[in-house]
Symmetry: C2
Subunit: 271 residues, 2 copies
């Protein structure tokens, strides 16, 4: 981009933001693991998807941490109205991404945390508590799994589509875009038969770790993708928004991210 | 069935077979976790799929356990030729199901172990070491997760296809059947948009636990499905073979298993 406004942010501030994101991830992990043991209340939203007491309680706890430490920052979460929506800094998170897995006990659910400055990500973290997986990144400071800095290799030249490892959203997410989304699901699964569908942010971790060559996300709200861009870009990967649609309750996004060559191949396939 | 020949097997023998299956699962777990730490050799098979030193070493170790304890039993594994293929009792296993996940460190790989008597399953076990997941079953003795006996509830009456939880094989597996397999992948993912694709036997555990309502497996060899039938049937679920094709290197199977009503719905969809 012509001018990256993130360069205006002092590194010391980026480090403070990152420290808060990691404390938020710790808080979420502690709560979600405890709730998996103690039990929680489950309800259905009007669209039939689950929401639990864990979603509400965890989002409130994370909101309180931001409001205490950075009262001038905005907050966008899945379950409550936006706080200070005009602020330059916006904390965007999904306390329980993969609520259906949280309810059934499949260990792929996690917490997504991002801080964006004028719409551009500065800090990102994903925590998958039952898998003991954590990945975090901050602008200019790199992407880390624990203490280990991640440097994503590119897709090996000559890797056939049949051997390329692809993760993607379920058809339910593609269908939210209208008919063309459905077509894209078919085109992707035909071109890349070696695919996995997890329906949680664990797939974003796999993209940052290079365990999948590319991840294709459809029908996402902003909190679902709050961390992916900075996690991938700071690891040497690429993040590309395929489409952004305005919808009631906020924009719906489609994005592809992972090893640069694999991302370029998917963009070409869907063009 | 008219006459279940498994009733001829003394319960004491079933218990001994089950005990061996569990020791084999322990042995596989110990080896696979150690190899994840120490590292292992990786090669590509002619079809591009991975095979590792872990596959060979683990299969040899499990074979030796069977040959020592039940020298009159046959053994069928993925990596070595069949042993005593005419024996009534056949131990059938896949030491590392999900080798690609084993190589990339995604924790969904596991070991599948089954004992069949005249082609019908008597004992089954799946161990997913990195997730600390184990499920086992024996004819007449039930399905267990650790000490807990599993009783699968049926699909709630009135559950819409959109909310039904489906796991299925990737299109790569469906395509092994020829064109109609591809059509079945489309039909399933359209009818059941809330689907997950793991590409390992962890999905079979999820079916036994009721974490998915149904699992649809295509393009499988006999060792991939060595445990699923007994795990599901002894838990009160249903297992149904959709198709069995003769192919070089052994039959290729498609099967659906899970909550009885969900299995019936999938059979009707694909009829």
């Amino acid at each position: 981009m012509a001018h990256d406004t993130r360069k205006e942010i002092p590194v010391r501030d980026v480090e403070r933001f990152q420290a808060l994101a990691l404390r938020m991830a710790d808080e979420a992990r502690t709560r979600l693991l405890a709730l998996q043991k103690s039990g929680f209340e489950v309800q259905r939203k009007p669209d039939g998807s689950y929401v639990t007491s864990a979603d509400f309680q965890t989002e409130q706890a994370l909101r309180a941490m931001v409001e205490k430490e950075f009262p001038q920052h905005g907050v966008v979460g899945e379950e409550f109205p936006a706080h200070l929506p005009e602020a330059e800094f916006q904390w965007i998170f999904d306390p329980v991404d993969g609520t259906e897995d949280f309810v059934t006990g499949i260990p792929n659910f996690g917490t997504i945390i991002g801080l964006h400055f004028r719409g551009t990500p500065v800090v990102g973290a994903i925590d998958v508590p039952m898998l003991d997986v954590r990945v975090h990144a901050a602008y200019g400071l790199g992407t880390f799994r624990g203490q280990q800095r991640l440097r994503l290799p590119d897709l090996e030249s000559g890797t056939s589509p049949a051997l390329t490892r692809v993760m993607l959203a379920a058809r339910a997410n593609f269908a939210k875009h209208g008919d063309w989304g459905d077509t894209h699901f078919d085109r992707l699964t035909r071109a890349y038969p070696n695919h996995r569908i997890y329906r949680t942010c664990y797939a974003h971790c796999c993209a940052a770790f290079g365990q999948t060559d590319v991840m294709v996300e459809y029908g996402n709200k902003i909190w679902d993708l709050a961390a992916a861009q900075i996690l991938l870009e700071e690891a040497g990967g690429r993040y590309h928004v395929i489409q952004r649609l305005d919808a009631p309750g906020g924009a719906v996004l489609a994005a592809v991210f992972g090893k640069p060559k694999a991302v370029a191949d998917v963009i070409a396939l869907l063009a």
